[in-house]
Subunit: 220 residues, 2 copies
DNA sequence: CTATAATTCAAGCGATTAATTGAATAATAG
DNA sequence: CTATTATTCAATTAATCGCTTGAATTATAG
């Protein structure tokens, strides 16, 4: 048990952070937390993990400094520690897409706009939305919408979209978005909307990336 | 064994990348590889790991897409897969420094310019070096220097610095650099140089960060 | 106070990991 | 061809991980 050098101690800490992201279940939690804070059992039901298991994953994330918990009454609400975490995740995504063939394949097959789903860039959308040229549609759960959404966006969670199509204007183009680049909800939304005769596209990323880019966010 | 959703499959892949960085030994390897390519036993002797262990770590890094190997004769040279990996590491550092108290403490105690060691910013150094106002000193091993270094830099590996002080001009300020922000060699160099009456400071980061910033690099 | 709900803790199990050791491959030197 | 060197593979061990189960803790509601 020799004393570790400062560098070893530092790398040990950084390794703990990386290891905390080294589990698909925890990445799933992090993607949800990127939308706003959530209680343990909300997270458990959104991910399908058991409550105890969720709690343990959250503690690992917290020990790594990636999340912070806030106790309110009998609930503990977790959220991401800060925007550095989002940037770290972006680095992870980029590394995967650039250097891991399997990631590239999955993105191409399931998440890429290989057909006519060409995504709308954030700045382009902001411009066109301000001019009233498009309807911005947020298909995430209501809680996430309330915690922050694009200016002027309409919230119809993806499960309700089929029944609530009437609420959307018929002629204007619709741009849908959800949690992030690897979230399938907006893909489903665009598919459904087009089937029903709407002109529809996807925002290239989700709300966290929009916010990280310094673009305006509305609350409540 | 239900078929995983595309998102689960993707997160599985990204988790593998993160897990590959989730070990202090591998972060050590990555820091060295960020300086240029190295053979397995060079890496083993630089890190103090056994050869077999080093090989296994390298394979884990390679499977995660973080490194690539190139076989030449009986040697296999590994290098980082690309600059995305450096950006990912920067994200890891920033997250640690911002959100992990222990990282902050270690950086403050051992790596911070809390005294008069105020680091020189990259752009400032480039400017002053071009005007011939400073001597730029690279204290990394010769192989790493040859693989790429700051324009006009002098290479004196840290172990030889004591004996080769005579090669450095007496009056000009010296700016030392090494592998990166968590590399101690340039700290030692500045300390030694000051003891011997030189005016000396540190570059804020190492060569990889310099190169990533798009600043010019010399070879050979 | 008692009952209930949210979260954490603790113990246990199978799977994975880091490291060691020794053998197997593969390329070069003589 | 033989010896040497670099690397990888295979088998082993101790430690850690992900998850489950059930109990303990803490706060609220009645």
């Amino acid at each position: 048990m020799s004393t570790p050098t400062p560098k070893q101690a530092l790398f040990e800490q950084l390794a703990r952070i990386a290891a905390a992201l080294g589990s698909a279940a925890r990445l799933d939690l992090v993607e949800i937390l990127a939308q706003g804070e959530r209680s343990v059992d909300q997270l458990a039901s959104l991910t399908g993990l058991s409550v105890a298991n969720t709690s343990q994953h959250l503690q690992k994330l917290r020990q790594a400094g990636l999340t912070v918990g806030r106790k309110e009454g009998q609930f503990v609400f977790y959220r991401l520690a800060g925007d550095e975490v989002l940037r770290l995740l972006e680095g992870l995504r980029r590394t995967g897409e650039t250097h891991v063939a399997e990631v590239d394949r999955l993105v191409r097959d399931y998440f890429s706009s290989r057909d006519q789903m060409e995504p709308v860039a954030a700045t382009e959308l902001l411009d066109r939305a301000r001019k009233g040229l498009v309807t911005v549609l947020d298909v995430r759960p209501a809680e996430e919408f309330e915690a922050g959404h694009l200016p002027g966006a309409v919230n119809i969670p993806i499960e309700e979209l089929g029944k609530r199509l009437g609420e959307l204007p018929r002629r204007k183009e619709i741009v849908a978005y959800c949690r992030g680049p690897y979230c399938l909800m907006s893909y489903e939304a665009v598919e459904l909307l087009r089937k029903k005769g709407h002109k529809a596209r996807r925002l290239e990323n989700g709300l966290p990336e929009w916010r990280l880019a310094g673009l305006p966010v509305e609350r409540g």
